[in-house]
Amino acid sequence: MNQSLFELTEKPISAEETANKVANRNAGAITLFIGTVREMTNGKRTLFLEYQAYKPMAEKMLAQIGKELSEKWPGTAAAITHRTGRLEISEAAVVIAVSSPHRKAAYEANEYAIERIKEIVPIWKKEHWDDGTEWIGNQLQTESYPEGKPGKGELA
């Protein structure tokens, strides 16, 4: 059984398993974020998504986000699982679980984690439409993902 807190997987993610990794007796709250595959984006229908990752570095960057969380919100514990490969509509691409003695920190830290994933974790999604494909975050799509490239100050 893999109990790594920060991992990439090609298999469907169990939100409950991710939540169980951060459950502990000092927790008064666990927040769970599930990022799912959306069918319609700006009026265009997605058939399915394909996620590619630089796996060893992506897992390291997820662990770094976990470290940032515990520094910013002492007492929180985090677990993040991100899927790779082909994902169908409504499947979970990422699950973030944060436990904390009190709920406010768990909510805040969880939102921080997803924003950081979109800045620094080397994972890319490819949209498959019925009229073609596109890696999101590339030149043509940069305008809708201006935060895609992490700035120097965001990497510390």
Partner: protein
Amino acid sequence: MITILLFAHLGDQAGKSTVQMQAAGMTAGEMKESLSETYKLKGIYTAMIAVNEEFADESTVLKDGDTVAFIPPVSGG
């Protein structure tokens, strides 16, 4: 020998995701130029660089055995 990793559209454009190059002493920025010319990689200039799985500057001098990854704007989550 230096191992170069190309992700997302960079890998598609090059037709491969891994390239081996004798490039010790070259900077990561110079390698960007070289790859851009060899493989006509549109968008490599907006890619971040990671050397041995850590984000790095273009001025980083590459050593034999290094793994250099070119990381286009990410879109996980």
